[in-house]
Symmetry: C2
Subunit: 406 residues, 2 copies
């Protein structure tokens, strides 16, 4: 009866991939595997900008956990993690109470970081979960619907301001500018009245990305109506305006549609549990474990993996989380059945940013740059590869993106 209790917290990219890998390699006689997640579905966080803009439905971006995880092999608990107690080797859950672990996988993902900027929590919308993305979509629809119900026309209802020009911000801009004409038709609004802004602190969006790709992305978005405000800093978000500073001047844009896409941090539970040491993340060992905790693996947005060549941490992408899952699954099996632990070796295959359904830009393994439809094809291939890995051909067919030349 000394079966190992393996507990996986979170069903994002990392948690799901570890669970599906373990269920193939471990039998119920080897270990008791439990997956804990708030919802009964997994979602593809990299598609949430589309859900938020309403260019795809949320059901396209989520997968019922039971469709991928074998509940005969992995026990599923739909519950919310409140705390990790490394002393007693247990996790406190909202409904189930306390569960014990022998091996823990922390895959709790990210949450928005507001950097203390006033008003973000109260008035800005984020692209973080199915719930926040669906709400953002509904919020903009609501303001568009309200516009014609007011005698005094309020431009704040139609202006959309995106704070942050990273991947999420840029990809959302690409979707929302494509959606605006459709929204205008639906709500009887003159498209000329709708303005879409991006505010970012850097001289360009996609900081750190290849300059040629950045220029391509900005030109593409500008040609579809995005107004970039660079080298600017958000001061405050109010219910009906965004206040920012640029060139030493304080300016404002009337808007009730403020989107905060400028920062994420690891789930705060990681820091509260005493595991997070570096900007709330766990600076993991080569085997992807929390330092000093040989029984705790950390994956995805909760883990900090250094790119020693570049001198920076790897950006927290789905790609790296999926790769980490291979190392973590291998190492857990080694702990359970015996064998050598291995070190994580990332293999970044490339990065592609979508700019709406029909445009994108990116860079692939061999350094080749991609623009336009070639980038969108590559993006969809990346998405489809993940589905294939996660749930096999069945899931790929059900949820894949096949309109690749659309």
């Amino acid at each position: 009866m000394n079966k190992k209790k393996i507990v996986i917290l979170g069903a994002g990219y990392g948690g799901m991939m570890v669970a599906t890998k373990l269920q193939k390699k471990l039998s119920p006689n080897d270990a008791e595997i439990t997956l804990v997640n708030k919802h009964d579905y997994h979602y593809q966080a990299t598609w949430l900008h589309e859900v938020s803009a309403g260019t795809i439905h949320q059901d396209r971006a989520r997968i019922r956990i039971k469709d991928v995880v074998n509940f005969n092999k992995v026990k599923f608990l739909q519950d919310t993690v409140l705390a990790i107690d490394t002393e007693s080797k247990s996790v406190k859950l909202q409904n189930t109470g306390r569960i014990e672990y022998d091996i823990l996988v922390v895959a709790l993902g990210f949450q928005p970081a507001t950097f203390g900027i006033p008003g973000i929590e109260e008035h800005a919308f984020t692209i973080s979960t199915i719930n926040t993305s669906r709400l953002l979509r509904e919020h903009i629809e609501y303001n568009f619907a309200m516009y014609n119900n007011e005698v005094e026309k309020n431009p704040a209802r139609l202006n959309i301001v995106v704070g942050g020009g990273g991947f999420t911000g840029v990809e959302y801009l690409g979707e929302i500018v494509n959606k605006v004409p459709e929204l205008c038709k639906e709500y009887d609004i003159d498209p000329a009245l709708v303005r879409v802004f991006n505010i970012d602190g850097s001289p360009t969006v996609l900081k750190g990305f290849d300059p040629q790709l950045v220029e391509y992305a900005m030109s593409s978005l500008e040609s579809r109506g995005v107004e970039f405000i660079n080298n600017a800093h958000l001061i405050e978000i109010k219910a009906d305006k965004v206040i920012y500073e640029k060139d030493g001047e304080t300016k404002e844009i009337p808007t009730m549609n403020a989107v905060w896409a400028a920062g994420v941090r690891a789930n705060v539970i990681v820091e509260e549990s005493g595991l997070g040491t570096n900007r709330g993340k766990v600076d993991v060992t080569p085997e992807m474990r929390a330092p000093g905790h040989d029984d705790i693996f950390v994956i995805g947005d909760c883990a900090l993996v250094m790119d020693h060549k570049a001198g920076f941490p790897y950006p927290p992408t789905a790609q790296i989380a999926i790769q980490e899952s291979g190392t973590i699954a291998h190492n857990i099996i080694a702990l359970v059945k015996g064998g050598e632990l291995e070190a994580f070796k990332p293999n970044i295959l490339g990065t592609v940013a979508s700019l709406g359904h029909k445009d994108g830009t990116g860079i692939v393994l061999d350094g080749r740059k991609l623009f336009g439809w070639k980038a969108t094809v590559m993006k969809k291939i990346i998405d489809n590869r993940y589905l294939l890995k996660l749930g096999g051909i069945g899931l790929l067919i059900k949820k894949g993106k096949f309109n690749i030349f659309g």
Copy 2:
């Protein structure tokens, strides 16, 4: 050059029918006909409960005016009527300025009546126009989307309270209870958490309707989850609750979804112009003219037509407005070309209330009572007859309701 200037204010059932009848019978040499309307579309007000619940799209319930009115014969002005000046025989418009008339048709429709109940204007939603109906639909969707984004779950987001158990209220209830399961699926909400209430001042809904039909309607709606609160009076609507009085006690329901369907009145412009004499309506002459104004015809919700047998005015329905248009068109032609004016003789063919797509109840000309699918078929036949009258077979095919056994 003494062509008569005929001005029709409003493109509701009455205004549209007068315009289309006149364009068939009068040539541009006989008269100059102008139709004024706020929007470039006509909408079927009797379908707005469906738009409000989201069971049909707003575009199904509206018709572009240019698709029905021949702009070579009728000049169309998209503008808002501000005032009617009977002294100078002119109408003041928001954008065009002042236009003169020789013959005026007042077809300005209804607006909600709040009876001075506090909070209705600020917090309640009405089923009055395409804009208000679309907003009501969006509002409930927004609250459903918000529900899962709050840590402290707020039942006010999910409770729907309809004030008023007349035709509009009852028909909306029939649609919204059918829509709730779909909304719950869309927003990941347990259907058991959603409650739909109706508050009405009478012992039953559909006051004045045949008791057997009333019982049928209430049973049908109750079986689908509507909770009726009868003999109750609204005291106030706040942002997050409805306060009412019943049996001498003050009670409240937490809700952010308050729908006000308890009262309508004639467009206030009628009263402000000195034409309205009876509860804001014009107590018209037998020829459908404003008393003392031989050049002003009044139609639909702005006109009061007495049912002398019953001792009450006829209820302001689409059916009676459409019938009035025949008399008014005839009388205008008589004024222009010479001939006898005729008196209006209503011919009420029956009344049917829908209770969602698959149920209804009503009474027809010969006194026969209709229940269930037979009533829904009759309702759709009535709707289709109007489309045929308004725009011929082309409009019927485009906008008709043909899923009559669905």
